[in-house]
């Protein structure tokens, strides 16, 4: 995903003189050709993330469309007040592109993990969040985000599904188990594991790569009584959105995702998927327990 992001951004810088890119050393080498062609619109401020976002705010105030890029923890967590004040409070907008997902660089440890990034963005108003599940989904999402005038966060990861799923971010049914079946919503790269987990269960599976704004109309059209959210970042990040969308309906919600605890373990992204119950077997255990509860409560 990172390579495709680099290529697409390099194209956008050439196509649209309104586009600018702000870096804090991360990926600077990959953008060296773009920087050579557009030295006044490819700006590497050094290892200075507060300035990176502040500069983006200033660029936006002059009418440019900044893309801001770093590892997710440095882009979103370290510079959070700059996002809140230098962008939102100024009525300025930018497209943030984070790499690293929740634990792409698991061996690097906690400092490079960012499971809370989408939750933090979600404290702000009016942001679009894209979580592509495949590299081929990235160019269209990035182009749409840059062509718009609001703020957006693209969350890139090394974790991905086997094939891309297009669409505009509306919930797309990947597997239909019929009316009133439990609905599982998979966000981005967790789709394949979720499909595998419920392969022999009567569960409808829907996909989205755009958790914000969440497709609440699609959710209401597809949801029965049981809703299962599977998100590749902090568990429960979208619970409030689902609860609000279904406020007038009795429903049960299972929200799966990354836990809050610092596991203090290294390993691979796949190891962390397993430890957080986001691999196929872990998801199956959670779904079985949730649906068993449904059967019990129904007196069956």
């Amino acid at each position: 995903m990172r390579d495709i992001f680099t290529d697409t951004t390099t194209e956008l810088l050439t196509e649209d003189p309104r586009t600018a890119l702000v870096l804090a050393d991360i990926s600077a080498a990959a953008f060296a050709p773009a920087a050579a062609r557009h030295p006044e619109r490819v700006l590497n401020v050094g290892i200075r993330e507060q300035l990176m976002v502040g500069v983006a705010g200033g660029l936006a105030l002059t009418g440019l469309r900044p893309i801001v890029h770093s590892y997710a923890p440095f882009l979103v967590e370290r510079a959070y007040e700059q996002l809140k004040l230098d962008l939102d409070h100024q009525d300025a907008a930018a497209v943030l592109v984070g790499v690293g997902g929740s634990y792409d660089r698991a061996a690097a440890g906690r400092t490079h993990l960012s499971p809370a990034d989408v939750s933090l963005i979600d404290t702000l108003h009016g942001w679009t969040v894209h979580v592509p599940g495949h590299p081929a989904e990235v160019p269209a999402l990035l182009r749409d985000a840059v062509a718009g005038d609001g703020s957006a966060y693209l969350r890139l990861s090394v974790l991905q599904n086997d094939r891309p799923h297009g669409g505009d971010g509306s919930l797309a049914v990947v597997r239909d188990a019929g009316p009133a079946a439990p609905l599982l919503v998979a966000v981005g790269p967790v789709l394949d594991a979720a499909l595998d987990a419920v392969a022999d269960l009567p569960v409808t599976v829907a996909y989205t790569h755009r958790p914000r704004p969440f497709d609440t109309a699609g959710l209401r059209a597809l949801a029965g009584t049981e809703v299962i959210l599977v998100e590749p970042y902090l568990a429960g990040t979208s619970s409030r959105v689902v609860s609000a969308a279904l406020v007038d309906r009795p429903h049960r919600l299972l929200a799966l995702g990354v836990g809050r605890k610092d596991l203090r373990r290294y390993g691979s992204p796949e190891d962390h998927n397993r430890w957080h119950g986001l691999d196929s077997a872990g998801l199956r255990r959670s779904v079985d327990a949730f649906l068993a509860g449904a059967l019990l409560s129904a007196g069956r």
């Binding site: 507060q50 976002v53 502040g54 660029l59 105030l61």
Partner: protein, 242 residues
């Protein structure tokens, strides 16, 4: 150094405050509405007046002109003098000065760029203006707008915020010649700036002038005529209790 470094004549602690520039006095009194203003309100009025009266290329008619100079008030609590100067210069109606901070007022205790004509940034939390100013200067340059200058007003205590030092180092290293920082130095930084506030900038390649923050001609000289190949800082020294 290409600038005259004006000797600072520090006045005694109980000396009377300098008079407010004539056109600002009325708006400031209307804004004050009988309230007590701290001395720090008066510490920035002279530099604001010199900027708006003699330096900045901006008028109420050009607040949206891409070619205008930008003034970014980073120390957002210096707002009383700012509103008074903006009113004196016609950027906002004098009636807005009444009930400042009230439920229907556009004028908060910190300024909001979306509510007040001529205000370039919303500020209050310290340490945001200089980064925004660097980005503004870069954005203007990238669009071929080479005439406008970007002025950012900070306080010496605000320099405690590390974000300023990210901006100071980067602007200096890249020779961002359209940027001027103005540091109103009332010696309020808790741990001080040994060697002076200007040294934090000059070590990073900025030019600097340190002047009496109430001397209009000295401020004007320091705020104009700087070289165009590097950023410039003006340290406007005022009394400690201001």
């Amino acid at each position: 150094m290409p600038f005259n470094l004006h000797a600072i004549q520090m006045t005694t602690a109980n000396a009377a405050l300098p008079p407010v520039p004539g056109p600002v006095a009325g708006p400031l009194e209307r804004l004050r509405a009988g309230r007590e203003f701290g001395a720090n309100v008066y510490s920035t009025i002279d530099v604001l007046w010199v900027l708006y009266h003699r330096v900045l290329r901006i008028t109420p008619e050009t607040v949206d002109d891409p070619e205008r100079d930008r003034f970014l008030l980073s120390k957002g609590h210096a707002v009383a003098g700012y509103y008074a100067v903006l009113a004196a210069k016609g950027f906002l109606p004098a009636g807005w000065l009444d009930d400042q901070g009230g439920p229907a007022s556009r004028l908060g205790d910190h300024p909001d760029r979306t509510l007040v004509p001529g205000v370039e940034i919303g500020s209050g939390s310290l340490g945001h203006g200089l980064g925004l100013g660097v980005g503004t200067a870069l954005g203007l340059r990238a669009q071929g707008l080479l005439t406008p200058r970007v002025y950012v007003l900070l306080g010496d205590a605000e320099l405690d915020e590390g974000s300023n030092h990210e901006a100071i180092a980067y602007a200096g290293a890249t020779g961002l010649g359209s940027l001027t920082a103005v540091v109103v130095d009332n010696h309020s930084a808790t741990h001080g700036w040994p060697g002076g506030a200007a040294a934090r900038f000059t070590v990073n390649g900025w030019t600097a002038a340190t002047v009496d923050g109430h001397d209009h001609d000295a401020l004007h000289t320091a705020l104009t005529g700087q070289p165009q190949d590097r950023p410039h800082v003006v340290v406007a020294v005022v009394k400690t209790e201001e």
